[in-house]
Symmetry: C2
């Protein structure tokens, strides 16, 4: 086992000074609707607005002195770009972020706002990788993968550790699944600190590569994903998949309208701004609520970065 | 003095089992923008989504046994309607709410959802009052005013009491002002429990009756208010005005675009859903931020009930 109990405990201590211990919230009304007792871990309140801050911080804090001088680099148009920029800034090191030229201006601005160096490329995966390689070769920056990296996975697992510390009798924890960093980290946290707690993921029907991968027993790459949950478009990786295969109970697929309905419920009833990807976990629980009736469930609200001018309501 | 320290302490004990002690949140980024250290009291997380629950609960809990049998009545198309319905339901008594027929369906549904009896009338103030009188005469229900009522004012003051309990060195507390229940309650709480803390209100320029009333030294009724802050359309009352006149430091008027910008800041940076009325207090502070530079300020985020299909973004 690569990710031990001790590694997770060290991770939690390492990143503690640089991330928020986010609150856990409940809604009586949503509990009534679900017939389930739900504890929402609010990573939308995390620094830069998503759990990704945990993994980015953990990876950056383990760079050597020499590596720190060269800085870090990644390609991302999502929350990991902002997380890496902010986590690097807090450690006084440089972050290079390759972003497709068609990424929303607001996201580029956010990365720059956190002090990141944005390098634009044409919007193809090939161009992203080539541009990233160029940057790494030119600057010596250390490439950090948004999810397929043990240190990143370990960092993401600390959200579930905090949830388990406050609620040690959860029947299950639900997360969304995209590349699998949060899901794998959560699965390892439950495995070590609350082995009776099942770990379950919600995934959009239109981007169901993780569900397909579990069915087939090997990684099925995500092609042409179609979903409002823009944090869940990526494929599993060779580090996240084996953990998920071994430790995740089930992946529940949800329709777009179920995602939007769950998002609306969280916005209207909890007064919390969460991004569509976050709502996927609640949508999955609501879809299978009969199965979890009367149980005590944790849900990780992964983030709250949405464009207010593009809401689905 | 009608509202004594002891009355406020009794009020807090009385309503405690029936309302949430809401969290207090901060945003480093908003602090940097304002140049001020701000503590937001999150009444958007209060039961039914607004501070009004406090005042309604306090008034209902002081009904006599006989009065309880007849129930309570009010006319409102806003948060007090929902607050009265829910507070009454929790005490097992009946609530009659007169609402204009053109009130949003979602608000009527919310009142009914909390078990309230909705009586529709044509949308004029006269019809509202006549219909309410009919209901009161027919049922014997006790009329509760949404803000011009000492027990309601005392209940609203408990939000500031909780804020002061956790931060006893605030230089000022900002609230929005509509009918003045929250502002008067906050002013009395500060007066008794933190006399050095100034109390200041934000008010929309297009509904500035409270500002005008302070200028003139007498109540200037609100006529034809024009603002997105739909909780602040009412006039001060003969119970709220004298308290505000004596104990409120200043009323700061803000433009619609300042309200929307402040609302957007809270949504985007704090991931909190607040209604436009709540943003008025932050907008006022931002407008006068030079004056409060380096100070420690409390802001009461009054509520989070917005129609998601009608956002100003």
């Amino acid at each position: 086992m690569k990710i031990t109990k001790e590694i997770l405990q060290e991770t939690q201590q390492r990143i503690k000074p640089f991330v928020h211990r986010t609150p856990i919230m409940s809604s009586q009304l949503i509990n009534e609707i679900a017939g389930v007792e739900i504890y929402f871990k609010c990573e939308n309140f995390q620094k830069m607005g998503a759990f990704k801050m945990r993994g980015a911080t953990n990876a950056i804090l383990q760079l050597s002195e020499t590596e720190r001088e060269f800085g870090v680099a990644t390609h991302s148009s999502g929350n990991f770009a902002q997380a890496l920029a902010l986590a690097a800034k807090l450690q006084g090191i440089k972050a290079y972020v390759v972003m497709p030229s068609n990424a929303p201006e607001i996201k580029k601005t956010a990365v720059k706002g956190y002090g990141g160096d944005v390098i634009e490329c044409i919007p193809t995966l090939e161009a992203r990788e080539t541009t990233l390689n160029d940057i790494v070769n030119k600057t010596g920056a250390i490439f950090l993968h948004p999810y397929n990296d043990y240190q990143v996975i370990e960092g993401q697992g600390t959200a579930a550790m905090e949830l388990i510390e406050e609620h040690d009798d959860l029947d299950a924890i639900f997360t969304p699944v995209g590349g699998g960093g949060l899901l794998a980290g959560t699965a390892m946290a439950a495995h070590h600190f609350s082995p009776k707690t099942k770990v379950i993921a919600g995934e959009p029907m239109g981007a169901d590569d993780a569900w397909q991968s579990l069915q087939k027993g090997e990684i099925v790459p995500q092609t042409n994903p179609q979903t409002i949950a823009d944090g869940l478009l990526t494929s599993l990786g060779d580090k996240t998949f084996p953990i998920i295969k071994e430790h995740v109970e089930e992946i529940i697929r949800v329709e777009e309208k179920e995602i939007i309905a769950a998002m609306r419920l969280i916005w209207e009833r909890m007064k919390l701004i969460v991004e569509p990807s976050s709502a996927v976990a609640l949508a999955a629980l609501l879809k299978e609520k009969k199965k979890y009736k009367g149980q005590k469930i944790g849900i990780i609200l992964s983030g709250g970065n949405v464009e207010l001018s593009k809401l689905p309501f």
